[in-house]
C-alpha cells in the first residue's frame, strides 16, 4: 500500500500534549506512595576489584535508615542475574565490581538526604584487580577476565546457517557470523579491494527524566511503578529473579520522560523490589543524571571493512570485522552485535558478504540499546567507506551509490524481505536540497574550506514482533485503547488512537489511550525498534475492526437485519437512508450502565528459518542525509552549515510527529558526530556528569536545518511503518564525507573534534 491516499493529512493536536504543556502529565518521577522510603546507591570507585567485605552496621544505625541491601542479599535470590539473551548482570554486585560506578550497596531511608548520609557510613574493603579498559586490552592473551564462570541465558536466536555464539572466547560476550556466498573468492576476483578501519564512540542517552522506580511488596504481590519502556519484559524478569509466578508481579507505566533505548530491558528495577521486600515499605529509587551516565551507554567499537569493487564501479563483496565494546555487563550487547553485523552491508547489492561481529567485555559502563541499535555504528562505517571508495576511483559519490543501490522490492539479503522504499528517490531529494548537481567550485574564504557530503542509512525494523491489543467502545462511542506500547515521547498515544478512531469512524478526541498496568493491559514485547505504530498498530487496527464487527452485529440484531446491510459512522448505524443512533440502542438493551464492546487484536511476525534473523524483517528503515560543512584549516573546527535529513514513514499517521522523530534523532547523531562523547581516561570516566557531558543545545543547530518525509508505503495500518530511529543513521558519515570534500582528509573516528580534524589536516600538509 502506498501512502498517497492517507486519511491522516489533517494536522492533529497530540493527545498527550495538553497534559504536557500544563504540567498535569504524570511521570513515574511524580509517583509518591504513603510511607514511601527513598533509596540511594553506593557505587564502586574501582573499575575491577573483588569485594572482600561490606560493613553496613553504622549506616543501619543511622536514624531514619530502614534497610541496606548488598550482594549478600542478592546472592540469596532464586536467580539474581539479568540481561538480554545472555544474563550476567547481578541485581547488585555480588563478589566483584566490574566498572567505576557498579552498584555495591543501596540504602532505603526516610528521605534522600538521610540515604546519602548513610552511604558514607558503609565500609567496603576491595581487593583491586587489573582492569581491562579497551577492546584491544580485553582481547590480549592473558588479559584479566571479567567473568570466571559462564553466564546464564543463551545466544541470540537467528536463522538457519547463521552463527550466533554465547561467550565464545575469554572476555567475549557474544559473536555473530554471517556469510552469503564466498566473499574471499569474490574479493580475490575484484579489480580493487579496499580495507578501512573506523572507530565509534560512546554516548549516553541523557533522557531528562532520570531512571526512576517505585516498588511495593504486599504479601505475595510485587508492584512496580517504572519508567521502563518494556513493562512485560520487566514483569518476566522480576518474576524470574524473585521466583514468583508472573501473575504476582504487576508493572505500572506512566508517561516516560525520554528513553532512546536507555530505559529498555531490566536494569535497577529488581534492586528496588529487593529493598521494598527487605524494608516492608514502598521504596523509590531515583537515580541522578550522573548515575544515569554510569548506567548505560551506546556501544563504542572498531569496524574494519574490506570491500571489493570492479573498475566499472560495481561493488562485489564485503568482509567485515566488528568489535563492539559491550562494557562490564551484557545488557543488550548480544542483540546489538547481531544487528550491527547484519546491517554493515548497507543498502547495496553484493555478490558475497562475510561478517564477524562480537561484543567484548571491558571494565566500563555497560553498553546496550540506543536508538538505532548497532545501525548507527554500521552506517557510519559503511557509508564512510562507500564515499572513500568512490573518491579513490574518481567516481562521483552519487553515481557510485546509484549504480549499487538495492532497487525497490529487492531483498536486503537472500531470504529476507524486500526494501519497500525507493532508496534513490530519497537520495535525489537530498541531492536537490544540497544543490549538489552542477554546484560551483568550492569557495575558499581565508583558512576556511567548504564541502558537501551525503549518506544513506538503513536498518531493519525487526525486534518487537508480537503485540496484543484491546479496543473498548462505550455506549457513548467513547473508546479506550489498551496496549503496552509506552508513551516515551514518540507520539504512540496519538498515532495508536488515531488508528482506532479511523477504523471506527469516530473523532480522535473520543479515543483515550488507557493507562498501562500489566494486570489489565494486553501484552507486547516492548517499546522498541520503531515498531509501535506498525506492530502494536496492527494489533489495534484488528481490535478496532473486531469491535466494529460486534457493534454492527449488535445493531443488526436489534434492527432485525443482516450486519452486511449496515454501515457505521458518527456513532450511528446507517441502513439504507435511515441513521440509527447507537447510544439509545445500547442503553435501551443493556440498561443505564450500558456495555462495552471489547475488540481483540494481535500481531505476530512468523518464524522463518530461511531469513537470517529467523523471521523476515517486517519493514526497512532508511534515512537520507546531506551535510554542508565549513572546515577551518587553522583550528580544525567543523561547522555544519546545512543539514538535511529525510526518512520514509510508509504513510504518516501523524506527519508532525514523524518530522519530530526524524529531527530529534538527527540532532542526537549530529551531537555525537561533532562533540558529544562519554570519555574515559584510564579506568575512569572523565565527564560522567551533566556539567561536563555536552549534549546539543539550540545554538548548536546548523544554520540551515531541514527534514523531509517520503511515503513509499509499509506493512502497518494504513500503509505506515516505523520512523523513530531513522534520523540517527547516516548523519555521521554524511558529515565525514563533507569534511573530506572540503579539505581532502578523512576522519574515520567519531566525533570529529577540532583536535582530530586538525591532526588529519596536518598529517597531509
Amino acid at each position: 500500500m502506498d501512502g498517497t491516499g492517507s486519511p491522516f493529512r489533517a494536522p492533529v493536536i497530540a493527545l498527550d500534549g495538553p497534559d504536557k504543556v500544563t504540567g498535569a502529565a504524570r511521570y513515574t518521577y511524580d509517583v509518591s506512595l504513603p510511607g514511601m522510603l527513598h533509596a540511594k546507591v553506593l557505587r564502586s570507585p574501582h573499575a575491577h576489584a573483588r569485594i572482600c567485605s561490606i560493613d553496613a552496621g553504622r549506616a543501619l544505625a543511622l536514624a531514619g535508615v530502614a534497610a541496606v541491601v548488598t550482594g549478600a542479599d542478592a546472592a540469596e535470590l532464586p536467580d539474581p542475574y539479568y540481561g538480554v539473551a545472555i544474563r550476567d548482570q547481578p541485581v547488585i554486585a555480588i563478589d566483584k565490581v566490574r566498572y567505576v560506578g557498579d552498584m555495591v550497596a543501596v540504602v532505603a531511608a526516610v528521605d534522600e538526604e538521610t540515604a546519602y548520609r548513610a552511604l558514607r557510613l558503609i565500609e567496603v574493603q576491595y581487593e583491586p584487580l587489573r582492569p581491562v579498559m579497551t577492546i584491544e586490552e580485553a582481547l590480549t592473551e592473558g588479559a584479566p577476565l571479567l567473568f570466571e564462570a559462564p553466564a546464564g541465558g543463551a545466544a541470540v536466536a537467528v536463522g538457519d546457517g547463521v552463527i550466533s555464539l554465547k561467550e565464545p572466547r575469554p572476555n567475549v560476550l557474544s559473536e555473530f557470523i554471517y556469510r552469503n556466498g564466498d566473499a574471499e573468492a569474490v574479493l580475490a576476483a575484484s579489480d580493487y579491494v579496499f580495507e578501512d578501519r573506523f572507530r565509534f564512540s560512546r554516548i549516553n542517552h541523557f533522557h531528562l527524566e532520570p531512571y526512576v522506580n517505585v516498588a511495593r511488596a504486599n504479601g505475595e504481590q510485587i508492584e512496580l511503578w517504572s519508567c521502563n519502556q518494556d513493562p512485560f519484559v520487566l514483569r518476566a524478569d522480576i518474576a524470574r529473579i524473585f521466583g514468583r509466578p508472573a501473575n504476582a508481579v504487576r508493572i505500572h507505566s506512566s508517561y516516560v520522560g525520554g528513553g532512546f533505548g536507555g530505559k529498555s530491558f531490566c536494569k535497577m528495577e529488581p534492586l528496588v523490589v529487593l529493598l521494598a521486600l527487605k524494608s516492608g515499605r514502598p521504596v523509590r529509587l531515583c537515580l541522578s543524571l550522573d548515575e544515569g551516565l554510569l548506567t548505560l551507554t551506546k556501544h563504542a567499537g572498531v569496524l574494519v571493512l574490506k570491500t571489493g569493487v570492479m573498475a566499472d564501479g560495481r561493488l562485489t563483496a564485503r568482509q567485515s570485522e566488528i568489535q563492539l565494546d559491550g562494557g562490564a555487563y551484557s545488557d543488550a550487547s548480544a542483540m546489538t552485535v547481531v544487528k550491527a553485523g547484519y546491517r554493515i552491508t548497507g543498502p547495496y547489492r553484493w555478490q558475497a558478504v562475510a561478517t564477524r561481529a562480537c561484543a567484548v567485555r571491558t571494565n566500563s559502563v555497560p553498553a546496550g540499546s540506543f536508538r538505532g541499535f548497532g545501525g548507527t555504528q554500521a552506517s557510519f562505517a559503511s557509508e564512510s567507506q562507500i564515499d572513500m571508495i568512490a573518491r579513490r576511483l574518481g567516481i562521483d559519490p552519487y553515481e557510485f551509490r546509484r549504480k549499487n543501490l538495492l532497487a525497490k522490492g529487492e531483498p536486503f539479503q537472500p531470504g529476507d524481505s524486500g526494501i519497500e522504499s525507493d532508496l534513490l528517490a530519497g537520495l535525489d531529494v537530498v541531492v536537490d536540497r544540497l544543490r549538489y548537481r552542477g554546484r560551483a567550485a568550492r569557495p575558499v574564504d581565508g583558512t576556511k574550506r567548504q564541502g558537501m557530503g551525503f549518506a544513506i542509512g538503513i536498518k531493519d525494523g525487526g525486534g518487537t514482533n508480537h503485540a496484543q491489543a484491546l479496543v473498548k467502545v462505550f455506549p457513548s462511542g467513547r473508546v479506550i485503547v489498551n496496549a503496552a506500547t509506552v508513551e516515551i515521547g514518540q507520539g504512540a498515544t496519538t498515532a495508536l488512537c488515531r488508528i482506532a478512531a479511523q477504523t471506527l469512524g469516530l473523532p480522535l478526541e473520543w479515543v483515550r489511550y488507557g493507562a498501562i498496568d500489566t494486570d489489565h493491559t494486553p501484552l507486547n514485547n516492548g517499546t522498541h525498534v520503531s515498531c509501535a505504530t506498525t506492530v502494536t498498530g496492527m494489533a489495534i487496527e484488528r481490535a478496532a475492526t473486531d469491535a466494529r464487527r460486534q457493534i454492527l452485529q449488535f445493531a443488526a440484531d436489534r434492527l432485525g437485519c443482516s450486519a452486511s446491510e449496515l454501515t457505521l459512522g458518527h456513532w450511528s448505524v446507517r441502513r439504507a437512508n435511515y441513521a440509527h443512533p447507537l447510544e439509545p440502542m445500547i442503553t435501551g438493551y443493556f440498561g443505564d450502565v450500558g456495555y462495552e464492546f471489547i475488540g481483540r487484536g494481535g500481531t505476530m511476525i512468523e518464524y522463518d528459518p530461511q531469513a537470517p534473523f529467523g523471521a523476515r524483517n517486517l519493514f526497512w528503515i532508511p534515512s537520507w542525509v546531506g551535510a554542508e560543512v565549513e572546515v577551518d584549516c587553522e583550528t580544525g573546527k567543523v561547522i555544519v552549515t546545512h543539514l538535511v535529513v529525510g526518512a520514509d514513514s510508509g504513510a504518516s499517521i501523524n506527519p508532525q510527529a514523524c518530522r519530530g522523530q526524524i529531527e530529534g534523532a538527527a540532532l542526537q547523531a549530529f551531537g555525537q558526530s561533532l562533540f558529544e562523547e562519554l570519555r574515559y581516561d584510564g579506568a575512569e570516566p572523565v565527564n560522567a556528569t551533566p556539567l561536563a557531558y555536552r549534549v546539543p543545545l539550540a545554538n548548536d543547530l546548523p544554520e540551515c536545518w531541514e527534514s523531509f518525509v517520503v511515503e513509499h508505503g509499509g506493512p502497518g495500518p494504513f500503509g505506515a511503518k516505523g520512523i523513530g530511529e531513522s534520523g540517527m543513521l547516516g548523519v555521521g558519515a554524511a558529515i565525514a564525507n563533507a569534511i573530506e570534500d572540503a579539505v581532502g582528509v578523512r576522519l574515520t573516528q567519531i566525533p570529529f573534534t577540532p583536535e582530530r580534524v586538525l591532526a588529519a589536516i596536518e598529517a597531509v600538509r
Binding site: 500544563t22 504540567g23 518521577y29 532520570p210 519530530g660 526524524i662 549534549v695 539550540a698 548548536d700
Partner: protein, 158 residues
C-alpha cells in the same frame, strides 16, 4: 544557619507563609510541599533547565535556588500559566507546532520562552536559539520549538 526560616512568597498568585529549612531547595518546596509537580528536576545541577520557574518574571533554575531566596517574591510555575481549555498562547503554540515529545523539559521550556517574550517581544532566530540554549530538549531537535516561539511571538504581537 541551622534553624527553620520563615518566608512569605507568592506562587501563581497565591500567598504562602512557610517555615523552611535553610537547605530546602525551591524545586523540592514546589514539588513536595505545594504539589506543583510540573516543575521537573532533570540534572539537579542547573544545567538542563527542566526545573525552570519564573521568580519575579525572571527565569531561574529551581533545583539550584534555595527556598529562602524567594522570600517576598512572586513565583510562577507551569501550573500558573494556563490549564486545559484555557491555555496560554505559548502553551497553545507548543501544542500546535508539535514542540514537545516526552514533555519532561516542556514546563521549563515554556516558562523560559515566557521570559524571553516578556523581554524581547519579537526575537530573531539567533536570539531564540541563544535563549533556548538554557534548556535542554533531548527529543525534538529544537527546530519545532523555535517555530512555536516564533508563532507565540506573532500571536502576542497581533
Amino acid at each position: 544557619m541551622t534553624g527553620a526560616i520563615d518566608i512569605t512568597l507568592t506562587v501563581n498568585g497565591r500567598t504562602y507563609r512557610l517555615s523552611v529549612r535553610p537547605r530546602r531547595m525551591l524545586a523540592d518546596l514546589l514539588r513536595d510541599e505545594l504539589r506543583l509537580t510540573g516543575c521537573k528536576i532533570g540534572c539537579d545541577q542547573a544545567v538542563c533547565g527542566a526545573c525552570t520557574v519564573l521568580v519575579d518574571e525572571m527565569p531561574v533554575t529551581a533545583c539550584a535556588t534555595f527556598a529562602f531566596e524567594v522570600d517576598g517574591k512572586a513565583v510562577t510555575t507551569i501550573e500558573g500559566l494556563g490549564c486545559a481549555g484555557a491555555l496560554h498562547p505559548i502553551q497553545q503554540a507548543f501544542l500546535e507546532h508539535g514542540a514537545l515529545q516526552c514533555g519532561f523539559c516542556t514546563p521549563g521550556m515554556i516558562l523560559s520562552v515566557k521570559a524571553l517574550l516578556a523581554r524581547y517581544p519579537d526575537p530573531d532566530e539567533p536570539l531564540i536559539r541563544q535563549w533556548l540554549s538554557a534548556n535542554i530538549c533531548r527529543c525534538t531537535g529544537y527546530q519545532m520549538i523555535i517555530e512555536a516561539v516564533r508563532a507565540a511571538a506573532k500571536a502576542r504581537g497581533s
